[in-house]
């Protein structure tokens, strides 16, 4: 058994409230190493709020409960920086005061020799098709190049799970397909449990994993868990969270 296989991301009975109103029906979900689970739903259904809760950046206006376990650790009481969850946003958010290579180096852990660090950054740049662009100002890169650099920065920090917050939505259609392939390949290769939040059905198709549709909970149904865990082995047991059912090709 591979050591990575203990990397399972488990969401247990997650409920998020805003002004005492439940955003979505209580959520249970298990994401296995290398699996990409897609969470879909109309805007405002709480998709991004769910990601905020998972990575520990929930705005104080929200109230939330439920367990988040990763590699056997309970994350809920940990600060963001100790969760070891990588996240990619709509914008690449490369830091403007650092060059592309320095942005990547920012992701590396301390305690490696300077040569090792440089080599790892060079390898990552090559991997992302950014060879020779390390010295550039991030603002001079194309949208696709920036997105790939952001993924590399996240991966160099050696996260144990990956959250994707609509990272493809600002790219044009052709670029989006290539970027999806690039991200999913890397996530699978590193056997990262990955949670993708999107409202684009094509994203979900490409991800190929289970799809969860978040929807408003039926009125007054607060407290009745209805979500089933996804079983990656059996595509028929996609969790049903909403009366409308999951979207499948």
């Amino acid at each position: 058994m591979n050591v990575h296989d203990s990397r399972i991301l488990t969401l247990g009975d997650i409920r998020i409230r805003l002004l005492d109103r439940l955003l979505f029906a209580p959520l249970n979900l298990t994401i296995h190493p290398g699996e990409v689970v897609t969470v879909m739903g109309p805007s405002g259904c709480g998709k991004s709020t769910l990601l905020n809760y998972l990575c520990g950046t929930l705005p104080p206006a929200f109230e939330a409960q439920g367990s988040v376990r990763l590699s056997g650790r309970e994350l809920v009481d940990l600060p963001v920086e100790q969760r070891r969850i990588g996240i990619l946003f709509q914008d690449a958010l490369l830091f403007p005061h650092l060059s592309v290579a320095d942005n990547l180096a920012f992701g590396l852990q301390a305690g490696q020799s300077r040569q090792t660090r440089r080599l790892r950054v060079e390898t990552a740049l090559l991997d992302a098709g950014l060879e020779g662009l390390g010295g550039r100002d991030p603002a001079t890169l194309s949208a696709g190049q920036r997105a790939r650099a952001a993924l590399m920065r996240t991966l160099l920090a050696e996260p144990e799970a990956l959250l994707l917050d609509e990272p493809f939505s600002k790219l044009d259609t052709e670029l989006r397909a290539r970027m999806r392939t690039f991200v999913f390949e890397h996530a699978r290769q590193r056997r990262l449990p990955t949670l993708l939040v999107t409202h684009d059905p094509a994203d979900a198709d490409d991800a190929g994993g289970p799809v969860v549709v978040l929807d408003r909970p039926p009125a007054l149904s607060d407290g009745n868990p209805t979500a089933a865990a996804a079983d990656p082995e059996n595509p028929e047991t996609v969790p049903r969270l909403a009366p409308s059912g999951p979207r499948r090709p």
């Binding site: 990575c55 520990g56 950046t57 104080p60 600060p79 963001v80 920086e81 100790q82 969760r83 070891r84 969850i85 990588g86 996240i87 946003f89 914008d91 958010l93 830091f95 403007p96 005061h97 650092l98 320095d102 180096a105 920012f106 992701g107 590396l108 852990q109 301390a110 305690g111 490696q112 660090r117 920065r153 996240t154 920090a157 996260p159």
Partner: protein
Amino acid sequence: MNRETARRGSWSALALNRAPALTLFILLAPIAAGLLGTLLPAFGWLPVVGAADFSLEPWRALWAAPGLGQSLALSLWTGFAATALSLLLALALLATCHHTLWLRRIRQSLAPLLAVPHAALAFGLAFLIAPSGWLARWFSPWATGWERPPDLAGFGPQDPWGLSLILALLLKQTPYLLFMGLSGLSQLPLESWSSVARSLGYGPITTFFKVILPSLYPLLRLPVFAALAFSLTVVDVALIIGPSTPPTLAVQALRWFNGPELTWRLPAAAAAVLLTLLVLIALATWEGMVRLLGRLSRFWVIGGWRGGMGGIARRLALGGGGAVFACATLSMGGLLLWSFAQRWPFPLAWPERWTPDNWIGQSGNLLAMIGTTSIIGVAATALALGLSLACLEHEAHRRPTFAGRSLWLLYLPLLVPQVGFLFGIQVLLVWGGLDGGWPALVWTHVLFVLPYVFLSLADPWRAFDARYEQTALALGASRARAFWRVKLPLLRGPVAVAAALGFSVSVAQYLPTLFAGAGRHATITTEAVTLASGGNRRVIGAFAVVQAALPLLGFAAALWIAKRRT
């Protein structure tokens, strides 16, 4: 459409077209003339006192003046120390609180500290830390054994090291830099950057210094410059709480200038020129150090060190911030107590007997000064507000002109030392027979009010959603009507706050009133500083309380206007 309106050449359109040029003229002409008026006497040309030959004699007299080196060193030390400490404390508070609810609490507690004039805080602090002051009284005699005020040479206000001066500047600069830092943070994608860095494993404080500060500092650069230039050249605070033998260079220059011997005006002008050069060199040195630090820190920034939660650092920063806040609050509280004290002998922590007599006795005097202060403040604020709005409207609706693009020059009055050009302005005013007149007085106040009013209005004005105005125009309103009936009412909050800020800046002015007023117009601030040498704590207390109350009333009115529904 825009150009058509402009071509129509109506009076208001013409005025709008000329607004940036007019504003720059109003600001820069006196500064340029003032610098020239300081430079000429510095090289021996001041016909009023019978000196009409250019020479280096004033400089020789300046070099030969006793204590010059000490004054110079004192100015540099207090200026750099006060600025560096305030910036450090402000950044520490931002670093430890940028991700917490403390940020909002800090924002809310800043307004009163920003409104209180420097001089009032300096009086209060002097009462607080004097050997016979409030602090000593709390611990006497039970802890210290002092039955009479101790004779501690070198401690308390006016200590020869300038420590009390540094503390007084710190009390005022920290809230200012914190305020500018908060407004800078609101222009950055703070939460996104913070989420990214922290999801990569970085602690909150490390995140601030490695990711946020490099983009925040450029937004803070001019405010930090202003704080440094102010600290190096401040006169009123240094008169109240700074060392006196020798004093800082700015105070020394003022002493020579106001001295009984008219010929000392020439070396005084040379000292003002020297101070101006000192500020330029100090700003360049500061910028050089910051850049060097930025370059040296690159290895640390990308070296991968994550940092921890910073619990201890947070407690230190909050402790420092709390101490500054407490010091300022106690200073103002002490002033209020003194103004109502009849007998308050030394070791007692509270006045023995209370009386309204201090106030009643001074009421005539106070009312007259409140009148003068308010007239100057309101006139200068109204002018500054009108010019700022015209410039911002010009920017929003006209093609940028050279003058329109040069509005950063508005910062100039905050960077050039007041002593440096106010000397010259007075020389010119006397020469033109305009000294002591209301127009000169209001104009010199506008120099310092305008930058703050403009800077505080610029952000809300630029962020205004132009579609509101377009909707009004589409509904058939004229451009003027769209401005007066839609844009101005929607932005009345920022306008009211800018006006209150401008008024508070005007109330706090000491040197401009002194020089342009030619001693004929005393404001609450000039009178309070004059009283400082007398040492009557009851009267000083009453004046300083009024000095602090005027701007606070202005801000209260602004808040009321901003919240009121029209």
